[in-house]
Subunit: 158 residues, 2 copies
Amino acid sequence: MGPSPIEADPAVEAERRLRAAGLARTPQRRAVLTELLGRTDHPTAEQIYEAVSRRLPGISRATVYRVLDAFTERGLLNRIQHADSVGRFDGRVDRHHHLLCERCGGLSDLEASALPELPIPAGADLGGFRIADYRITLHGVCPDCSGDAHDPPSNPTP
Amino acid sequence: MGPSPIEADPAVEAERRLRAAGLARTPQRRAVLTELLGRTDHPTAEQIYEAVSRRLPGISRATVYRVLDAFTERGLLNRIQHADSVGRFDGRVDRHHHLLCERCGGLSDLEASALPELPIPAGADLGGFRIADYRITLHGVCPDCSGDAHDPPSNPTP
DNA sequence: ATACCTGCAAAAACTTTGCAATTCG
DNA sequence: CGAATTGCAAAGTTTTTGCAGGTAT
């Protein structure tokens, strides 16, 4: 089937990114990157470890951390932050924005096309700071939390 | 002459915020909030602890963590994230933006007035998500890193 | 072949918690 | 006074590191 409009098969895309970055293509790296590209939430290192462990029993947490770190440095993925103080990862490296729920702390993606473009030319200079790109985070209340008075749902998507 | 009604003396502003939030005003809380409001960087809990310890020897790390947590919940300050995975705090709660250096990971403030307003009415609705505010992060290269010859795809020296 | 990776286990870094004493309102 | 806050110390999380052996290019 032709599922995703943009990113093809996560495994194929993972391979492509590893190759493009000139990084060693080991089973562990393939598995970690494929896992991340196959989901749209923003998993923690631990969640990635758990998921990858099912396909690659014996992979170690240390490897997951090291690999995520290497990928982040090379720009294969992004490290982001939810309401808590745990590192989270996002396989999307294209321009897109985020919706942050002030009630439950959940963070979800928002296509760049949903917002008007900022009139900031790439390469613009702001006080000596050369601008390459930008990201916007919209703060508000998500649909799940809209109904409830105060109690956050016990099943958010952080 | 309108005396900039925004942040005056950090201690005064701290007092005002504590009172407005209806939080107990203890020496520890005054010290932590005053310290944070008196600096423009985004210190970690540990850095705040160190600084406050000089004025209030004996304050415990646990108190600093608890107090920062309480303040964040009540909106007296914001929790943010640098390149690393350590919780950081920002005394500014008004709309302002950030400049993120892709080389060194440094994050600095940018006045909201430096960017055009996004035409997003507060209260707008985006797929069931009620929007209250937004923040923009500009990615690029800071002045300090501009000189370095690290990985200059195109570094014309202006 | 050899430089880079991985697993393991221990350590470090960061944050939270239980409780008794103290302080704020 | 009664309720909330603090310190201390211990426990819980999350992330990093040193090595020996294994693997990719």
